[in-house]
């Protein structure tokens, strides 16, 4: 009787959905990170899984869930406690993003962008005053920030940004259009990249005027300078390095959700007189999927740990993002295949995982750009 009440109480996916519970998965993590993983998983299972399909269907921003995540410290994992953050490390953040994304990929990216792309540069390059003003209100989940680098005319070609900034008195005035900016609809502040001339790049933090195309169109916005003039490109690149680990973590979460879905279905669906999980064709797929996922996870954790230890991690972050995003697409693609017709329809989450996974190969540096970054680093390593 107790078990029945608990199932109803926990209001989870019907207890049938198999999730990986073996200890070996977690044995390598320190206790704090293990507890953090558990609390994020519980939150995702209870608050995100039940509504993820609905959020996707309605294209809704999960405002209430983001607030709850803020209360738990998830919207500002690395931010020191004095500014209202959780004061944890990047590995903790990566684990948190993965667990949240497993529940709902969109909520995962909201968390990732706020942490890595908005709070990251402000924390690293902001003055004390800027930190007070632009960090603390963005740790609670009430307000989120975003990162505006891409424009209609440039994504991968970051150097060709055409938004201009000119100094007027003690304020910078921006003019231009940004596009593809995650969180922009709901953000209360943006880190915007702009140029005074093609040779230099500036960055400013500014309350954005929203347009409806996911791009703050800024006409004569006023803003504050972050860091020194000319540092824009460097700030963007460093921020993207850490953002890549966040997106890798998001891709891991999506991949895990897709794998869970595929295994659960394979164990239940019978064909030719037995569950399809008995067929070698399915088993080989599941093995390849699990291998891709574990490999990407280890790469992601390694990149996070290098960052935590203050070591250079550009190559490792690019590898993590590349591996995780390609794993997510592979796994969700094969998950649809395992589910057959059910994989294609919206009754099952497999097609949503596929759509969620697909973008991870594109944003925060396309897979092609990641390969260039990796090759660059590899060649450097050999040339020393």
């Amino acid at each position: 009787m107790a078990a029945l009440l608990l199932c109803a109480r926990k209001a989870l996916l019907p207890g049938s959905l198999r999730r990986l519970h073996t200890v070996y998965q977690m044995a390598e993590l320190p206790e704090t990170h293990e507890m953090l993983r558990q609390t994020c998983r519980d939150f995702a299972d209870r608050e995100l899984c039940p509504i993820a399909a609905q959020l996707d269907k309605e294209h809704r921003y999960p405002a209430e869930q983001v607030r709850k995540m803020g209360a738990m410290g998830l919207m500002a994992v690395e931010v020191p406690e004095q500014f209202g953050g959780a004061g944890l490390d990047y590995l903790a953040y990566a684990i948190g993003v993965e667990e949240i994304s497993r529940g709902c990929a969109s909520t995962g990216v909201v968390m990732s962008v706020n942490n890595s792309l908005y709070l990251g540069p402000v924390l690293k390059f902001g003055s004390e005053e800027q930190k007070q003003q632009w960090i603390t209100p963005f740790t609670t989940g009430e307000k989120v920030g975003c990162f505006a680098l891409s424009e209609p005319g440039n994504g991968s070609d970051a150097g060709a940004a055409s938004t201009v900034a000119r100094l007027e008195g003690d304020h910078w005035v921006l003019n231009g259009t940004k596009a593809w900016i995650t969180n922009s609809w709901d953000a209360s502040a943006t880190v915007v990249f702009a140029t005074t001339d093609k040779a230099l790049k500036h960055k400013v933090t500014v309350p954005p005027q929203h347009t409806h195309t996911g791009g703050p169109g800024q006409e004569d916005c006023r803003g504050n300078l972050l860091g020194q003039p000319g540092m824009g490109f460097k700030i963007a690149m460093q921020t993207l390095d850490s953002g890549r680990v966040g997106i890798a973590a998001q891709a891991l979460g999506i991949a895990q959700a897709a794998l869970d879905c595929a295994v659960d279905y394979a164990e239940k669906r019978t064909a030719f007189g037995a569950p399809i999980s008995k067929l070698q064709g399915i088993q080989f797929k599941l093995a390849d999927m699990a291998l891709a996922l574990e490999g990407a996870r280890l790469l992601t954790w390694r990149a996070a740990m290098l960052k935590d230890n203050g070591k250079p991690y550009t190559k490792e972050a690019a590898m993590a993002k590349l591996a995780a995003s390609e794993a997510a697409t592979l796994i969700s693609h094969q998950a649809i295949q395992v589910l057959g017709g059910m994989g294609y329809v919206t009754d099952m989450p497999a097609e949503r995982h596929y759509r969620d996974a697909r973008i991870t190969e594109i944003y925060e540096g396309t897979s092609e750009i990641q390969r260039l970054v990796i090759a660059n680093q590899v060649l450097k390593d050999y040339r020393c």
């Binding site: 989870l12 519970h21 073996t22 206790e31 953090l36």
Partner: protein, 254 residues
């Protein structure tokens, strides 16, 4: 009226895991299986922490009996807001035979040692389903008990407890010190927030042996066998109420 709350937390196999019986029928497989805090114990911890937050209690102490891994369970209680922990070391055969009687003796000894005003435990654990520890602890201490609590409030020098019973709800008023067992609807346990997980690292967990508390652990119970429940038989559909009555009569049920 500030005081100490002792909360018992048990490390059990996670509720979502599919249980497998060991081939030798001596128990269930626990190696490599995910464990977590008993859900009713989570509710107990939450209630204790809320009492302290309302300043009705001064300190919350989380207690767990078992092997080294129980410290993880205590750490989770600390991350939810308990102030310190006590790990009562029990391992090997003693742990396999650990049951409500021994645990209540331990809880009673600790309640006296820590001068607790209140002992809160979950109404039952999801592995043993015994529903005995709270009641036995109260009896050993000769304290009043409010079991299956769905609501607890402080009333002067006592507690008002709303109890979930088969017939509905029962309100009792009990003097403190007392024992309360938490039922499902008592509260919704909080998530351990990241800052609290960090704070929990600094909180103390004391280790103690049952012998130090004067408790001896021999069990008066012997487990004869552990088996899977029988496979569920399919039912039979009947056409009319008359058919149903005939079938029930024939099977001797009516």
């Amino acid at each position: 009226m500030a005081g100490r709350v002792l909360v018992g937390v048990k490390r059990v196999i996670d509720y979502a895991v599919k249980i497998r019986v060991k081939p030798d029928k001596t128990g269930v497989v626990t190696d490599g299986v995910k464990h977590s805090m008993n859900p009713f114990c989570e509710i107990a911890v939450e209630e204790a922490v809320r009492l302290r937050e309302k300043k009705l209690m001064k300190e919350v102490i989380a207690v767990s009996c078992g092997p080294q891994q129980c410290q993880e369970t205590i750490r989770t209680a600390l991350a939810m807001g308990a102030d310190r922990g006590i790990h009562v070391e029990v391992s090997g055969k003693d742990y396999e035979n650990l049951g409500p009687l021994q645990v209540s003796k331990i809880m009673a000894a600790l309640a006296k040692k820590e001068e607790a005003s209140l002992v809160i435990v979950g109404k039952q654990a999801i592995d043993g389903d015994c529903n005995q520890t709270g009641q036995m602890t109260a009896a050993l201490l000769d304290w009043p008990q409010g079991t299956f609590a769905s609501e607890v409030s402080v009333d002067g020098d006592g507690l008002k407890v709303e109890r979930e019973i088969d017939g509905g709800l029962e309100s009792v008023r009990i003097k403190m010190p007392a024992v309360v067992t938490a039922d499902l609807r008592l509260n919704e346990p909080r998530y351990a927030t990241l800052p609290n997980i960090m704070k929990a690292k600094k909180k103390k967990i004391a280790s103690v042996k049952p012998a130090d508390l004067g408790v001896e652990l021999t069990s008066r119970l012997e487990i004869l066998a552990v088996e899977d429940p029988p496979q569920r038989q399919s039912g039979v559909k009947v056409e009319s109420v008359q058919d149903l009555v005939t079938k029930l009569r024939d099977s001797g049920t009516l």
